[in-house]
Amino acid sequence: MLVSAEESFLRGSTGGAAMLLLPIIVISLVGFVAPVVNLLVFSFQKAEATGALLGGFTFDTWHDVITDPYYRELIANSVGASLLITVLDLVLSYPIALYLHRSSGLRRTILLVLVISPLLLSAVVRTYGWIAILADNGLIDQLLAKLGIINPYRMVFNMLGVVIGLTEILMPYMILALLAGFGRLDLRAEEAAATLGARPFVVFRRVTLPLSLPGILLGSLLCFVLAISSFITPKLLGGGRIFLLATEIYDQAIVTLNWPVAATLSGLILAIFGVALVAYTRLLARLV
């Protein structure tokens, strides 16, 4: 039998598949694994006040960071804010994603473009946009003033501003992840539930929601990870007054030149990612 080289390569079971994976494995090793290992090595080294690393091996930085109440609060704030943003994104995006899932043709295309279009703008630009909208005497204040209301709340350069801005900026990701996870959602199954006597709310609770859980989990994981690691938006909308893990890492690495602390905090974020990923995998396994 005559088999071309190409054919035997593609058919060639595991050997061929491994060959195809090689480029991404190399890129991942050089571009991701090696720097992360390097970073973790930094976290166990001592440094001078000038920032120069002295080498050696010590647990001091890890010990200091974990026992310092300031860093504990920082971690709690970061995780809390990211969870809040994730929940807000989920609540705001779910109806949109459901509507998109059920629409078709031109309507769906137009709506999908509208969902994706914010991603074409840099997060920096969108963040400045939010500053203009939320600032004292900004768009919202001016509108309220026209209605004769004086807004007593500050909405920017505080946690509220960061949450509002990040929630909007991460919404497209949540919507797309929900849509990707809605594969099992079938209008016919919902109709079947209705013919069996389920009211619309019961149909949602017993059929729609369980079938969309894979999407909810995927979107939540993605949103949480993006929220906790985002830097520009908290930096700008926080006005230097909101301290979260990502902004603190920047300050330690670039301003204070304390690379071991920056590396330790990075290691902590990585650990939080790990916990989120394990939680996601466990929950998903229980579903399927």
Partner: protein, 363 residues
Amino acid sequence: MSAQGPSKQPCARPGIQLENLRKTYPDNVAVDDLNLTVGKGELVAFLGPSGCGKTTSLRMIAGLTPITSGRVVVDGRDLTGLPVFRRDIGMVFQNYALFPHLDVRRNIAFGLEMRKLSSAEIARRVNEAIALVQLQGREGRRPAELSGGQQQRVALARALAIQPSLLLFDEPLSNLDAKLREEMRKEIRDIQKRLGITAIFVTHDQVEALTMCDRIAVLNHGRLEQLGTPQELYERPATPFVASFIGRTNRLAGQARGKVVEGAGWQLAIAEPHHGAVEVMVRPHRMKLAQSTVASPEAVNRVKGNVVRCIYAGEVIQTDVDIGGQIITVEQPNAGSEVTPEPGQAVEVTFLVRDSLVYSGAA
């Protein structure tokens, strides 16, 4: 319109009545004033080509598609305007529409849980339904772990468990392979008969409609073409559409003068007098190729033509014959002694006068 034999009357109590059921969309009329009564315990097929309004009608009965006008009455209860979840109608969907996140038992129990029955009662009725569709031992499986036929059974059990007053089938067998489809046809029919449940069966497959159902409603362009037993529809189709949709048929266009129809080079006798342009339809297997003159006690039409081609199909032999420019197919059972005619051979096609259906004004 040709004469129509007396229709088998449905039972005195109607299971479902459709009164002037109508569905219009901005750009078309999907269902055009459908009037239909299905007797209690009767299985009626909605048969027609795609887009004929059969599924729309079914969905309007279930309450899944809002009706434009008309009434749906089930067991004397007017369902018009009632939401789906209050209709008490069991429905089996084309893709089964099982709940993929629930196992077989929970799928079947769903409708019973909605009725807030006690768990003992739910368990009893679920077991009953599982036994009915012979799914014992598969209670804990998820739909994805079942074959197409088994999923079909779960869908049927789920719809039956709520003991509905009406059972609707939306092309339930179209996703199964031929052998399984035949098996499920018999099984669905058996269960429906045993439970005495009124049912409507939407299909585009005439064999399914003919073999399973008490009566068939043939729909075309949203209108009811004919309602009758399989035999009535096949033997006495009311319209040319029904004649050509159910079974195969030969069409001969000609001019009628009383009890005689004339075409290009042929002449036929017909039972009832007609005038003007008509179409004569004869089933292929009601025609014969006559090699010699055979005496017949009944009135027989004889038409001369030339063989175009002959197809040996095992059980039958199909011969296409050119009659004055129109091709007709003659189908004869293969009795073993048949001599297949050669193309170009002159033959005589014979058929009984009563086997020809005549429709006036046909194209």
